[in-house]
Symmetry: C2
Subunit: 195 residues, 2 copies
Protein backbone atom coordinates (compact mmCIF):
# COMPACT_ATOMS: atom_id res chain seq x y z
CA UNK A 1 0.00 0.00 0.00
CA UNK A 2 1.62 3.22 -1.16
CA UNK A 3 2.10 6.08 1.25
CA UNK A 4 -0.18 8.64 -0.34
CA UNK A 5 0.98 11.38 2.02
CA UNK A 6 4.45 11.22 0.51
CA UNK A 7 3.39 10.62 -3.08
CA UNK A 8 4.92 13.27 -5.31
CA UNK A 9 2.18 15.43 -6.78
CA UNK A 10 1.30 14.50 -10.35
CA UNK A 11 2.78 17.47 -12.15
CA UNK A 12 1.43 16.43 -15.54
CA UNK A 13 -2.16 16.34 -14.28
CA UNK A 14 -1.73 19.62 -12.43
CA UNK A 15 -0.33 21.22 -15.59
CA UNK A 16 -3.40 20.08 -17.51
CA UNK A 17 -5.72 21.55 -14.89
CA UNK A 18 -4.05 24.94 -14.69
CA UNK A 19 -3.50 25.21 -18.43
CA UNK A 20 -7.17 24.37 -19.04
CA UNK A 21 -8.29 27.08 -16.65
CA UNK A 22 -5.89 29.73 -17.93
CA UNK A 23 -6.45 28.99 -21.63
CA UNK A 24 -10.21 29.07 -21.10
CA UNK A 25 -10.01 32.40 -19.31
CA UNK A 26 -7.40 34.31 -21.31
CA UNK A 27 -7.05 32.37 -24.55
CA UNK A 28 -4.13 30.29 -25.77
CA UNK A 29 -2.20 33.26 -27.13
CA UNK A 30 -2.88 35.25 -24.01
CA UNK A 31 -1.24 32.75 -21.66
CA UNK A 32 2.50 32.15 -21.41
CA UNK A 33 4.34 29.04 -20.28
CA UNK A 34 5.50 31.14 -17.33
CA UNK A 35 1.89 31.83 -16.38
CA UNK A 36 1.07 28.12 -16.36
CA UNK A 37 4.21 27.14 -14.48
CA UNK A 38 3.70 29.95 -11.99
CA UNK A 39 0.23 28.64 -11.15
CA UNK A 40 1.88 25.40 -9.97
CA UNK A 41 4.86 27.04 -8.33
CA UNK A 42 7.42 25.59 -10.72
CA UNK A 43 9.69 27.13 -13.34
CA UNK A 44 8.66 27.44 -16.93
CA UNK A 45 11.39 25.12 -18.21
CA UNK A 46 10.08 22.26 -16.05
CA UNK A 47 6.95 22.06 -18.23
CA UNK A 48 9.09 20.60 -21.01
CA UNK A 49 9.63 17.43 -18.93
CA UNK A 50 5.90 16.74 -19.44
CA UNK A 51 4.89 18.29 -22.75
CA UNK A 52 7.21 18.88 -25.71
CA UNK A 53 5.69 22.27 -26.59
CA UNK A 54 2.87 24.67 -25.85
CA UNK A 55 1.08 23.40 -28.98
CA UNK A 56 1.26 19.82 -27.72
CA UNK A 57 -0.19 20.89 -24.39
CA UNK A 58 -3.13 22.52 -26.16
CA UNK A 59 -3.62 19.48 -28.38
CA UNK A 60 -3.56 17.18 -25.37
CA UNK A 61 -6.33 19.20 -23.71
CA UNK A 62 -8.43 19.37 -26.87
CA UNK A 63 -8.22 15.69 -27.79
CA UNK A 64 -8.74 14.59 -24.19
CA UNK A 65 -11.86 16.72 -23.97
CA UNK A 66 -13.34 15.53 -27.25
CA UNK A 67 -12.75 11.86 -26.43
CA UNK A 68 -14.36 12.21 -23.00
CA UNK A 69 -17.28 14.13 -24.51
CA UNK A 70 -17.91 11.55 -27.23
CA UNK A 71 -17.61 8.62 -24.85
CA UNK A 72 -19.96 10.15 -22.29
CA UNK A 73 -22.47 11.08 -25.00
CA UNK A 74 -22.55 7.53 -26.34
CA UNK A 75 -23.23 6.22 -22.85
CA UNK A 76 -26.01 8.76 -22.33
CA UNK A 77 -27.84 8.30 -25.65
CA UNK A 78 -28.97 4.65 -26.07
CA UNK A 79 -28.98 3.39 -29.64
CA UNK A 80 -32.27 1.54 -29.41
CA UNK A 81 -34.43 4.55 -28.51
CA UNK A 82 -36.82 6.19 -31.00
CA UNK A 83 -35.72 9.63 -32.31
CA UNK A 84 -37.78 11.67 -29.84
CA UNK A 85 -36.27 9.79 -26.91
CA UNK A 86 -32.78 10.09 -28.36
CA UNK A 87 -33.19 13.84 -28.87
CA UNK A 88 -34.33 14.25 -25.29
CA UNK A 89 -31.41 12.16 -23.98
CA UNK A 90 -28.91 14.00 -26.18
CA UNK A 91 -30.19 17.42 -25.09
CA UNK A 92 -30.18 16.57 -21.39
CA UNK A 93 -26.68 15.14 -21.72
CA UNK A 94 -25.28 18.07 -23.69
CA UNK A 95 -26.55 20.76 -21.33
CA UNK A 96 -25.52 18.82 -18.22
CA UNK A 97 -22.03 18.13 -19.56
CA UNK A 98 -21.56 21.76 -20.58
CA UNK A 99 -22.67 22.96 -17.17
CA UNK A 100 -20.31 20.54 -15.43
CA UNK A 101 -17.23 21.00 -17.66
CA UNK A 102 -17.41 24.63 -18.80
CA UNK A 103 -13.66 25.15 -19.12
CA UNK A 104 -13.02 22.12 -21.34
CA UNK A 105 -15.96 22.99 -23.51
CA UNK A 106 -15.22 26.69 -23.79
CA UNK A 107 -11.58 25.93 -24.61
CA UNK A 108 -12.45 23.45 -27.34
CA UNK A 109 -14.82 25.94 -28.94
CA UNK A 110 -12.71 29.09 -28.71
CA UNK A 111 -9.18 27.87 -29.27
CA UNK A 112 -9.59 25.58 -32.25
CA UNK A 113 -8.19 28.43 -34.31
CA UNK A 114 -4.97 28.37 -32.25
CA UNK A 115 -4.43 24.67 -32.88
CA UNK A 116 -2.12 23.84 -35.76
CA UNK A 117 -2.37 20.96 -38.18
CA UNK A 118 -2.22 18.02 -38.11
CA UNK A 119 -3.71 17.98 -34.58
CA UNK A 120 -6.37 20.45 -35.61
CA UNK A 121 -7.72 18.07 -38.24
CA UNK A 122 -7.96 15.30 -35.64
CA UNK A 123 -9.97 17.47 -33.27
CA UNK A 124 -12.29 18.58 -36.08
CA UNK A 125 -12.87 14.94 -36.99
CA UNK A 126 -13.86 14.16 -33.41
CA UNK A 127 -16.16 17.17 -33.28
CA UNK A 128 -17.78 16.08 -36.54
CA UNK A 129 -18.54 12.67 -35.01
CA UNK A 130 -20.39 14.44 -32.22
CA UNK A 131 -22.36 16.69 -34.55
CA UNK A 132 -23.16 13.81 -36.86
CA UNK A 133 -24.85 11.97 -34.00
CA UNK A 134 -27.35 14.79 -33.48
CA UNK A 135 -27.74 15.19 -37.21
CA UNK A 136 -28.64 11.50 -37.45
CA UNK A 137 -31.26 11.81 -34.71
CA UNK A 138 -32.91 14.78 -36.42
CA UNK A 139 -32.80 13.03 -39.79
CA UNK A 140 -34.40 9.87 -38.40
CA UNK A 141 -37.13 11.86 -36.69
CA UNK A 142 -37.79 13.80 -39.85
CA UNK A 143 -37.97 10.59 -41.90
CA UNK A 144 -40.45 9.00 -39.52
CA UNK A 145 -42.55 12.16 -39.36
CA UNK A 146 -42.18 12.88 -35.64
CA UNK A 147 -40.06 16.02 -36.23
CA UNK A 148 -40.77 18.94 -38.54
CA UNK A 149 -37.27 20.10 -39.45
CA UNK A 150 -37.02 21.91 -42.75
CA UNK A 151 -33.19 21.85 -42.84
CA UNK A 152 -31.66 19.14 -40.66
CA UNK A 153 -28.05 20.37 -41.13
CA UNK A 154 -29.00 23.90 -40.11
CA UNK A 155 -31.17 22.65 -37.25
CA UNK A 156 -28.25 20.59 -35.95
CA UNK A 157 -26.00 23.64 -35.81
CA UNK A 158 -28.77 25.83 -34.40
CA UNK A 159 -29.51 23.42 -31.55
CA UNK A 160 -25.84 22.88 -30.69
CA UNK A 161 -25.15 26.63 -30.67
CA UNK A 162 -28.19 27.30 -28.50
CA UNK A 163 -27.29 24.64 -25.94
CA UNK A 164 -23.56 25.28 -25.88
CA UNK A 165 -24.24 28.91 -25.00
CA UNK A 166 -25.14 27.79 -21.49
CA UNK A 167 -21.44 27.91 -20.61
CA UNK A 168 -21.38 31.66 -21.15
CA UNK A 169 -23.88 32.61 -18.48
CA UNK A 170 -24.67 29.72 -16.12
CA UNK A 171 -23.35 30.05 -12.57
CA UNK A 172 -23.98 27.91 -9.53
CA UNK A 173 -26.12 29.83 -7.08
CA UNK A 174 -27.92 31.77 -9.80
CA UNK A 175 -31.72 32.07 -10.06
CA UNK A 176 -32.04 28.74 -11.91
CA UNK A 177 -30.46 25.50 -10.78
CA UNK A 178 -28.91 22.83 -12.98
CA UNK A 179 -32.11 20.81 -13.44
CA UNK A 180 -34.28 23.84 -14.17
CA UNK A 181 -31.85 24.96 -16.85
CA UNK A 182 -31.80 21.52 -18.46
CA UNK A 183 -35.61 21.37 -18.54
CA UNK A 184 -35.92 24.88 -19.98
CA UNK A 185 -33.47 24.14 -22.80
CA UNK A 186 -35.14 20.78 -23.45
CA UNK A 187 -38.50 22.49 -23.82
CA UNK A 188 -37.13 24.94 -26.40
CA UNK A 189 -35.42 22.16 -28.39
CA UNK A 190 -38.51 19.94 -28.48
CA UNK A 191 -40.81 22.81 -29.48
CA UNK A 192 -38.20 23.95 -32.04
CA UNK A 193 -38.39 20.61 -33.89
CA UNK A 194 -42.18 20.57 -33.72
CA UNK A 195 -42.81 18.32 -30.71
Amino acid sequence: MPDTRRTRPDTRAALREHARRLFARHGYEGVSMRDIAGALGIRQSAIYNHFPSKQHLLLDLMVGHMERLLSAMRDAVPEGLPPAGQLEAFTRFHVAYHIDQPEDVFLAYMELRSLEDPGRADVIALRNQYETTLRGILGAGQASGVFQVAEPALATRAILAMLTGVTVWFRDGGPLNREQVIEAYLGMVLRGVGR
Copy 2:
Protein backbone atom coordinates in the same frame (compact mmCIF):
# COMPACT_ATOMS: atom_id res chain seq x y z
CA MET B 1 -14.23 68.99 -57.21
CA PRO B 2 -11.45 67.02 -55.56
CA ASP B 3 -9.24 64.83 -57.63
CA THR B 4 -10.16 61.44 -56.18
CA ARG B 5 -7.43 59.67 -58.16
CA ARG B 6 -4.82 61.51 -56.14
CA THR B 7 -6.62 61.45 -52.81
CA ARG B 8 -4.37 59.84 -50.22
CA PRO B 9 -5.89 56.58 -49.06
CA ASP B 10 -7.66 56.81 -45.70
CA THR B 11 -5.12 54.98 -43.58
CA ARG B 12 -7.29 55.04 -40.48
CA ALA B 13 -10.18 53.31 -42.25
CA ALA B 14 -7.84 50.79 -43.85
CA LEU B 15 -6.31 50.04 -40.47
CA ARG B 16 -9.77 49.34 -39.07
CA GLU B 17 -10.58 46.98 -41.93
CA HIS B 18 -7.39 44.96 -41.73
CA ALA B 19 -7.33 44.87 -37.94
CA ARG B 20 -10.95 43.67 -37.92
CA ARG B 21 -10.14 40.87 -40.35
CA LEU B 22 -6.94 39.80 -38.59
CA PHE B 23 -8.37 40.00 -35.06
CA ALA B 24 -11.42 38.00 -36.15
CA ARG B 25 -9.25 35.32 -37.74
CA HIS B 26 -6.37 34.96 -35.27
CA GLY B 27 -7.59 36.67 -32.12
CA TYR B 28 -6.38 39.92 -30.57
CA GLU B 29 -3.45 38.29 -28.79
CA GLY B 30 -2.51 36.38 -31.91
CA VAL B 31 -2.05 39.48 -34.08
CA SER B 32 0.87 41.91 -33.79
CA MET B 33 0.97 45.57 -34.74
CA ARG B 34 3.52 44.51 -37.37
CA ASP B 35 0.97 42.08 -38.83
CA ILE B 36 -1.64 44.83 -39.15
CA ALA B 37 0.77 47.37 -40.59
CA GLY B 38 2.16 44.78 -43.02
CA ALA B 39 -1.32 44.14 -44.40
CA LEU B 40 -1.45 47.82 -45.47
CA GLY B 41 2.15 48.01 -46.62
CA ILE B 42 3.21 50.49 -43.94
CA ARG B 43 5.52 50.24 -40.95
CA GLN B 44 4.29 49.32 -37.51
CA SER B 45 5.21 52.69 -35.98
CA ALA B 46 2.91 54.51 -38.43
CA ILE B 47 -0.14 52.98 -36.74
CA TYR B 48 0.49 55.22 -33.74
CA ASN B 49 -0.39 58.28 -35.84
CA HIS B 50 -3.97 56.93 -35.93
CA PHE B 51 -4.49 54.95 -32.72
CA PRO B 52 -2.66 55.53 -29.44
CA SER B 53 -2.33 51.80 -28.64
CA LYS B 54 -3.37 48.32 -29.69
CA GLN B 55 -6.01 48.37 -26.93
CA HIS B 56 -7.53 51.57 -28.30
CA LEU B 57 -7.68 50.02 -31.76
CA LEU B 58 -9.61 47.06 -30.38
CA LEU B 59 -11.92 49.31 -28.39
CA ASP B 60 -12.59 51.45 -31.47
CA LEU B 61 -13.64 48.35 -33.43
CA MET B 62 -15.80 47.00 -30.62
CA VAL B 63 -17.65 50.23 -29.84
CA GLY B 64 -18.11 51.02 -33.53
CA HIS B 65 -19.62 47.61 -34.13
CA MET B 66 -21.98 47.73 -31.15
CA GLU B 67 -23.25 51.20 -32.04
CA ARG B 68 -23.90 50.22 -35.65
CA LEU B 69 -25.61 47.00 -34.52
CA LEU B 70 -27.89 48.80 -32.04
CA SER B 71 -28.77 51.55 -34.47
CA ALA B 72 -29.60 49.12 -37.29
CA MET B 73 -31.65 46.92 -34.95
CA ARG B 74 -33.75 49.88 -33.80
CA ASP B 75 -34.45 50.78 -37.39
CA ALA B 76 -35.43 47.21 -38.22
CA VAL B 77 -37.73 46.54 -35.24
CA PRO B 78 -40.62 49.05 -35.16
CA GLU B 79 -41.81 49.98 -31.68
CA GLY B 80 -45.50 49.87 -32.47
CA LEU B 81 -45.64 46.24 -33.57
CA PRO B 82 -47.19 43.50 -31.41
CA PRO B 83 -44.70 41.05 -29.80
CA ALA B 84 -45.01 38.36 -32.46
CA GLY B 85 -44.25 40.88 -35.20
CA GLN B 86 -41.37 42.33 -33.22
CA LEU B 87 -39.86 38.90 -32.62
CA GLU B 88 -40.08 38.12 -36.31
CA ALA B 89 -38.50 41.45 -37.23
CA PHE B 90 -35.77 41.06 -34.63
CA THR B 91 -34.92 37.53 -35.75
CA ARG B 92 -34.78 38.43 -39.43
CA PHE B 93 -32.62 41.43 -38.65
CA HIS B 94 -30.23 39.56 -36.35
CA VAL B 95 -29.56 36.71 -38.77
CA ALA B 96 -29.21 39.03 -41.77
CA TYR B 97 -26.83 41.35 -39.94
CA HIS B 98 -24.71 38.44 -38.70
CA ILE B 99 -24.52 36.98 -42.20
CA ASP B 100 -23.50 40.35 -43.64
CA GLN B 101 -21.00 41.43 -40.96
CA PRO B 102 -19.46 38.20 -39.72
CA GLU B 103 -16.08 39.67 -38.80
CA ASP B 104 -17.44 42.49 -36.65
CA VAL B 105 -19.81 40.14 -34.91
CA PHE B 106 -17.31 37.38 -34.35
CA LEU B 107 -14.77 39.86 -33.03
CA ALA B 108 -17.19 41.43 -30.58
CA TYR B 109 -18.15 38.02 -29.25
CA MET B 110 -14.70 36.41 -29.02
CA GLU B 111 -12.44 39.26 -27.98
CA LEU B 112 -14.41 40.87 -25.19
CA ARG B 113 -12.06 39.07 -22.82
CA SER B 114 -9.08 40.86 -24.36
CA LEU B 115 -10.62 44.28 -23.84
CA GLU B 116 -9.53 46.08 -20.68
CA ASP B 117 -11.61 48.33 -18.48
CA PRO B 118 -12.99 50.91 -18.64
CA GLY B 119 -13.72 50.33 -22.33
CA ARG B 120 -14.84 46.80 -21.62
CA ALA B 121 -17.63 48.03 -19.35
CA ASP B 122 -18.86 50.37 -22.08
CA VAL B 123 -19.07 47.57 -24.61
CA ILE B 124 -20.88 45.31 -22.15
CA ALA B 125 -23.39 48.08 -21.49
CA LEU B 126 -24.07 48.40 -25.22
CA ARG B 127 -24.46 44.63 -25.55
CA ASN B 128 -26.88 44.60 -22.62
CA GLN B 129 -29.04 47.17 -24.40
CA TYR B 130 -29.25 44.83 -27.37
CA GLU B 131 -30.12 41.78 -25.27
CA THR B 132 -32.64 43.75 -23.23
CA THR B 133 -34.57 44.57 -26.38
CA LEU B 134 -35.13 40.90 -27.16
CA ARG B 135 -35.82 40.19 -23.52
CA GLY B 136 -38.53 42.87 -23.58
CA ILE B 137 -40.17 41.39 -26.66
CA LEU B 138 -40.30 37.92 -25.10
CA GLY B 139 -41.61 39.33 -21.83
CA ALA B 140 -44.37 41.28 -23.57
CA GLY B 141 -45.42 38.24 -25.59
CA GLN B 142 -45.44 36.10 -22.48
CA ALA B 143 -47.54 38.67 -20.63
CA SER B 144 -50.11 38.86 -23.42
CA GLY B 145 -50.23 35.08 -23.77
CA VAL B 146 -48.97 34.80 -27.35
CA PHE B 147 -45.66 33.17 -26.32
CA GLN B 148 -45.09 30.23 -24.00
CA VAL B 149 -41.69 31.00 -22.53
CA ALA B 150 -41.05 29.43 -19.15
CA GLU B 151 -37.87 31.42 -18.48
CA PRO B 152 -37.65 34.64 -20.51
CA ALA B 153 -34.05 35.41 -19.46
CA LEU B 154 -32.88 31.95 -20.47
CA ALA B 155 -34.91 32.03 -23.66
CA THR B 156 -33.30 35.35 -24.59
CA ARG B 157 -29.81 33.89 -24.27
CA ALA B 158 -30.82 30.66 -25.99
CA ILE B 159 -32.24 32.46 -29.01
CA LEU B 160 -29.30 34.85 -29.33
CA ALA B 161 -26.77 32.00 -29.08
CA MET B 162 -28.68 29.97 -31.66
CA LEU B 163 -28.90 32.81 -34.16
CA THR B 164 -25.40 34.19 -33.63
CA GLY B 165 -23.97 30.77 -34.46
CA VAL B 166 -24.78 31.41 -38.11
CA THR B 167 -21.46 33.26 -38.42
CA VAL B 168 -19.55 30.04 -37.71
CA TRP B 169 -20.76 28.05 -40.68
CA PHE B 170 -22.56 30.23 -43.26
CA ARG B 171 -20.74 30.76 -46.55
CA ASP B 172 -21.94 32.40 -49.75
CA GLY B 173 -22.38 29.79 -52.43
CA GLY B 174 -23.31 27.06 -49.93
CA PRO B 175 -26.40 24.84 -50.23
CA LEU B 176 -28.67 27.45 -48.59
CA ASN B 177 -28.83 31.08 -49.59
CA ARG B 178 -29.22 34.08 -47.28
CA GLU B 179 -33.03 34.13 -47.42
CA GLN B 180 -33.41 30.39 -46.90
CA VAL B 181 -31.20 30.57 -43.84
CA ILE B 182 -33.16 33.47 -42.39
CA GLU B 183 -36.47 31.64 -42.88
CA ALA B 184 -35.15 28.41 -41.36
CA TYR B 185 -33.89 30.18 -38.23
CA LEU B 186 -37.11 32.18 -37.98
CA GLY B 187 -39.13 28.97 -38.05
CA MET B 188 -37.10 27.48 -35.21
CA VAL B 189 -37.39 30.64 -33.11
CA LEU B 190 -41.15 30.94 -33.55
CA ARG B 191 -41.76 27.26 -32.79
CA GLY B 192 -39.38 27.51 -29.83
CA VAL B 193 -41.53 30.20 -28.19
CA GLY B 194 -44.72 28.32 -28.93
CA ARG B 195 -45.98 30.03 -32.10
